[in-house]
């Protein structure tokens, strides 16, 4: 039987391959496009719309979605973000389009982003300062407001600084108190008690002036307030120290809008989160992810390379190596949550618990290393990604020509010298390929981290100015977990939606940046191997 020519010539296969490629490309591009589009406009200022309803209500806010009303087929309804959570108890209201009598975009409407209770939408009335009251209609209002907000920021900064110093004064009291309580011998107890006494004395001596200053700062902060009027007529007093930014959105020109947009991105990337992560920035998560991947790389590369070198250069290639290779291949397919459970049992409870018993016995039962932390999370991910590094390194080692190995041996190099000076440099690009793949995989993992050290809100970064600077036992925040937390666990899911997409975009960007770094390094190594000087 004659086969159709288009089958015989492989035309069908070629079209099928092209179609598969096209679909794959479309999926990747589509993913990036959706995330970028939603995240890109997340921080763009929306106009503040004033709606008068048939029942007499007046609403001011941003229109977030327009959709068909499921209760009244054929009608449209709008989701309006009205903010003012402390007045209304909710951020969003549904407005049937039919109920809207009048719609305007008032130039005098203000958006006030607050440190607490979310956004406030309304009209500025006056500014209260110790020097007097400035009305919003006054031409000095803009300058006075800018000055008041600046003063508010300074006060918040000072308050935080004072609280940090007070906490630092109190920390030894807690530490020695716990030590005295958990002391195993009377002598130790006495020593801890003496230290506790000294710490208390130190605190009692130094704390009062700080406390006095704190009270003063708080009092001053209450003195500068912005009085606003909501669309419904209620008056609201916002302390200047509680304002992140206050802008008359509708009155802004294009330049000011772009400036607002960029300053929001800046805040998003480099500020701490607020309001249960639904507002503010993601800096701790960004930093935690990068540091965790970094630590993991330090663990996984030596482990993977040594394993690959043993398998490829030393092991004899019998049943044992075959079994190890099979085990590694299977390890790569184990669900990541299983690694999380292993990490919890082995690293956190096993290794960490032992470290606590041996080195931090005094602070027990409060665990130091015996609880999730960035070190255990990094090591768990290192185990998860070790097969990737092993396989890539082995490929690199196998690419070293036998002639090159023979050449080194014939020159009197020992086996180790050959490996160290010829084979490993040759295989370095393969090692880096493995590292790239491991980093890409690790940066996106969430499940194992939830068991080994990730938290919703970490009180401090794992790297700071307090000796020993790198705090491996600390819990940390992670972009992947942040997405899950903000998107599904936050009290205000709808308001946090733009944050979810923006965080996703940042996570993608981080993976891309880490990969580009490794690729650049690999390209440099390859060049060194092939053309230019060593």
């Amino acid at each position: 039987m004659m086969r159709a020519p288009w089958l015989k010539e492989g035309i069908a296969a070629r079209w099928l391959a092209a179609a598969a490629l096209l679909i794959s490309l479309a999926m990747v591009v589509g993913l990036l496009a959706v995330v970028s589009a939603v995240a890109g406009k997340a921080f763009w200022p929306r106009p503040l719309v004033l709606l008068r309803l048939a029942d007499g209500r007046v609403l001011l806010g941003e229109v977030w979605t327009r959709e068909a009303d499921p209760n009244h087929p054929g009608h449209e309804r709008w989701r309006l973000k009205t903010g003012n959570r402390d007045l209304e108890g909710q951020d969003f209201v549904w407005v049937p389009k039919a109920a809207v009598v009048a719609r305007e975009v008032p130039a005098g409407a203000w958006l006030v982003e607050r440190r607490e209770y979310g956004n406030f939408y309304g009209f500025a009335s006056e500014l209260h300062t110790p020097e007097g009251i400035v009305s919003a209609t006054d031409e000095r209002f803009g300058d006075a407001l800018a000055k008041a907000l600046q003063r508010g920021r300074e006060l918040v900064e000072e308050e935080r600084h004072l609280l940090d110093r007070l906490a630092a004064l109190h920390a030894p009291v807690v530490k020695y108190g716990a030590r005295a309580e958990g002391a195993k011998s009377e002598r130790r107890r006495q020593r801890a008690l003496a230290a506790l006494e000294r710490a208390r004395g130190h605190e009692e001596e130094n704390a009062p002036p700080l406390l006095a200053r704190l009270a003063e700062v708080r009092h001053q902060a209450e003195e500068v307030t912005l009085v606003m009027t909501a669309a419904g007529g209620q008056e609201m007093t916002v302390p200047a120290a509680g304002v992140v930014r206050a802008v008359p959105v509708n009155a802004l020109g294009l330049g000011a809008r772009v400036g607002l947009y960029l300053s929001r991105w800046w805040e998003f990337l480099f500020a701490e989160p607020r309001e249960a992560n639904t507002e503010g920035g993601i800096f701790p998560a960004l930093f935690g992810t990068a540091l965790m991947v970094f630590l993991m790389t330090f663990a996984v590369v030596p482990l993977g390379v040594i394993t690959a070198v043993y398998l490829n250069e030393y092991a004899s290639g019998g049943m044992f190596t075959r079994a190890v290779r099979l085990a590694l291949a299977n390890l790569a397919g184990v669900p990541s949550i299983v690694f999380g459970v292993f990490g919890l049992a082995f690293f956190v409870y096993g290794v960490g618990g032992t470290i606590d018993r041996l080195l931090f016995a005094d602070s027990l039962p409060t665990p130091t290393f015996g609880t999730g932390g960035i070190l255990w999370a990094s090591l768990t991910l290192a185990l998860l990604t070790v097969p990737v590094v092993v396989v890539a390194t082995e490929e690199g080692l196998q690419s070293v020509p036998d002639a090159t190995r023979d050449g080194a041996r014939a020159l009197g190099a020992t086996r180790w010298q050959t490996l160290r000076h010829v084979v490993l440099p040759y295989a370095a690009p393969g090692v880096l390929t493995g590292t790239i793949l491991a980093v890409a995989r690790a940066a996106g993992e969430v499940a194992p981290l939830m068991l080994t050290g990730v938290v919703k809100l970490a009180p401090a970064l794992p790297l700071d100015g307090v000796p020993p600077y790198l705090h491996l036992e600390r819990k940390f925040m992670h972009l992947g977990f942040h997405i899950y937390d903000v998107g599904f666990q936050s009290p205000n899911v709808e308001a946090a939606k733009p944050m979810v997409y923006a965080t996703t975009l940042v996570l993608l960007a981080l993976v891309v940046v880490l990969n580009l770094l490794a690729i650049a390094l690999r390209a440099r190594l390859r060049r060194r191997l092939s053309r230019s000087a060593v």
Partner: protein, 254 residues
Amino acid sequence: MTTGAAALRTRSLLAGFGSTAVLQAIDLTIPEKQITAFIGPSGCGKSTLLRCFNRMNDHLAGFFRYGEVLVHGRDAYDPALPLEELRSQVGMVFQKPNPFPQSIARNVSFGPRMAGVRDPAVLAELVEASLRRAQLWDEVKDRLHASAFQLSGGQQQRLCIARALASGPQILLLDEPASALDPIATAKLEETILELSREVTIVLVTHNLQQAARVAHRTAFLYLGKLIEEGETAAMFASPRERLTEEYLTGRFG
């Protein structure tokens, strides 16, 4: 029969892999500071014999050996003789140029560095001397720190010779060194080999009878693992003693 002292000598050398004997009782003496060529059809055992002199066969699976291999009168397989020392005395250059992914200078100084030489001045001197002996110095002196991969095939092969010379061997084993080179590079390489033979003993495995005739002072013909005939190249090529040698030289097989 031989001129000068023996550099290499085998006594009833029997060697092979697994259950196959590749060399069958070879008795051969190779004189000092001459070029000796091994010729013979593929699979006759030329390379295996060559690799017995610096024990490169040891790394291959299933290798076995009986009989003696003497390097300047000393047993090459003496357990008390470190492999690294033997190999610094008996250098080797392979079929295909195999420079390391390093600079030209570091390629040449590899052997001494592995042997523990650290002094940069000593190494630099060794690099220059070795490259001069391999007749490569003038071509690379301005780019010693460029990658060895930048060189042409012929230059790479002479670099490999310089690299072997840097360890200070008295004997150099060349395993079909010109098989991957074009005629011009081959001519240059042969010139280098001839020049070197004044100070170093050279053993050359070749498939190319003309090459053996051009450069080798002596020639050994191997067939099916046996040494058929050995002697002065000119005499052997003009009037071979054995019928097999004559048939091979006249191209009736091989």
